[in-house]
């Protein structure tokens, strides 16, 4: 069972990546690269090579939002036009389609963007973090030096893996090592 979370700070990407490669290579028994997270000030384009392919599922949510906007938009607009017979127009149909196309186009984009936004907050874990801020619970392990330009590697370890990990960090010239207990 994972009992501790360790954070190691490195001065640049190369050192951090070599540490990850070491973990990948099996230097620490039973520790897989899936337990590793990298915190960095920018996204490195080769990061998937080191951490392995991890899922990106926001586009599904966007599609769902767009389809919802399409269906809901049409039903909403056509129904309200059908219901509002108190003030009909002369010479025009009650449910004109060209107007509805314009409005449905906007509704597709409206819902797609909101779904993307909420999907992003949910899937990236930001929603969980925000909830922790609001309820005053302790934050995820983080170092403020990441914004200055250092790279942090966060690993979840068991008691046996603790010492080898710290040793590995020191080997790769880590600038600081922090840890916390996983509740």
């Amino acid at each position: 069972m994972k009992t501790k979370r360790y954070l190691g700070l490195f001065s640049d990407f190369d050192k951090a990546f070599s540490t990850v490669m070491a973990i990948r290579g099996g230097d620490i028994p039973d520790l897989s690269v899936d337990d590793v997270t990298i915190s960095s000030p920018i996204e490195h384009p080769e990061i998937n090579d080191f951490l392995g392919k991890r899922p990106e599922r926001i586009s599904n949510l966007t599609l769902a939002g767009a389809l919802f906007g399409l269906v809901f938009g049409f039903i909403f607009i056509a129904s309200s036009q059908a219901a509002f017979m108190v003030q009909p127009l002369g010479g025009k149909p009650v449910i004109p389609l060209p107007n509805n196309f314009v409005l449905i186009y906007e509704m597709i984009i409206f819902f797609a963007i909101w779904m993307t936004f909420f999907g992003f907050l949910g899937m990236s874990g930001l929603f969980k973090n925000s909830m922790r801020i609001i309820t005053n619970r302790p934050q995820t392990l983080y170092s403020e030096r990441v914004s200055l330009g250092e790279i942090a590697i966060i690993v979840e370890v068991t008691d046996e893996q603790e010492q080898p990990l710290v040793h590995l960090f020191r080997e790769h010239e880590s600038l600081q090592v922090k840890h916390e207990d996983i509740e």
Binding site: F84, Q87, L89, G90, G91, K92, P93, V94, I95
Partner: protein
């Protein structure tokens, strides 16, 4: 509930005016104006002011174009070169809301403050209007008027406010208004006919301008009643309601509708003034 409504009536809701539309007309109030008989005396305009609680805005505002004359007499000079009697070239066109069958002012109101009644009138709902003035921009005849100021505050000082017509409202600022074919008189006539259990006869409804015109240049009636005077006039002039290309057998017929090519289906037919040189 409205989704059920939508599914049941889908085909009729999708029909435009060419397919008969969704609506059934009970009456179809129409007007005919004989420009040869119009002397440009402005009595109709004055009557309209009195009947419909229109405010006199004053010289400065009138010149700026903020007047409220629902019925206006447009004066055109079409024989400017005539030297001996230059005023003989004056043409007068009484212009008011044409109550278009396919009104361009109706679809552009964002809050649906203007709509088409089953009587064939283009109705303006003062309470719903938020004053975006898109309808006024879209009217090719420019017969829609906007309340630019709160006229009720100073247009009728005591005791002038006693002349106001109680049958209709005095509008506040920010609201669009226009000629309604004296809809308050139409309602009274219809109510009386309903009370007597009969149909509305030709001549029951007399708008203020029709009532006042000294030369009887304006004729008003129900186009769906084939015996009404106005129906007969339209027919004699061979002007048809639902088309913008009038095919007339006799080229001497004087009847026409203004801006026919806009295809807005006006309910007012004008009969051209007979020019002196023609006679």
């Amino acid at each position: 509930m409205s989704i059920k409504n939508l599914l049941e009536n889908w085909s009729s809701y999708r029909r435009g005016s060419e397919g008969g539309g969704h609506h059934n007309y009970e009456h179809r109030w129409t007007m005919s104006i004989n420009l040869d008989q119009c002397t440009g005396c402005n009595a109709c305009s004055t009557a309209c002011y009195a009947e419909n609680n229109l405010a006199v805005v004053g010289k400065e505002r009138f010149e700026r174009g903020q007047a409220m004359h629902w019925m206006r007499i447009e004066r055109y000079w079409d024989q400017p070169e005539e030297e001996e009697y230059p005023s003989s070239g004056a043409s007068f066109v009484p212009m008011m809301c044409q109550q278009c069958g396919s009104a361009p002012c109706e679809p552009v109101c964002p809050v649906a403050a203007t709509y088409h009644t089953p009587d064939g009138l283009n109705a303006q709902v003062y309470n719903r209007c938020i004053g975006s003035r898109y309808c006024g921009v879209n009217c090719p005849f420019r017969v829609r008027y906007f309340n630019f100021y709160s006229y009720y505050e100073d247009a009728w000082p005591e005791p002038l406010n006693q002349q106001l017509n109680p049958d209709l409202s005095v509008r506040d600022k920010g609201v669009m208004e226009k000629c309604t074919f004296c809809v308050q008189r139409i309602r009274v006539a219809k109510d009386e006919a309903a009370m007597d259990n009969r149909k509305v006869k030709d001549g029951d409804v007399v708008p203020a301008c029709v009532q006042t015109c000294p030369t009887s240049a304006i004729t008003f009636g129900d186009a769906l009643d084939p015996e009404s005077e106005v129906s007969k006039m339209w027919e004699s002039q061979q002007v048809k309601r639902h088309t913008y290309k009038q095919k007339k057998k006799d080229p001497n017929l004087r009847g026409y509708r203004i801006f026919e090519e806009m295809n807005v289906e006006p309910s007012v037919m004008y009969m051209e003034r007979i020019r002196d040189e023609k006679v």
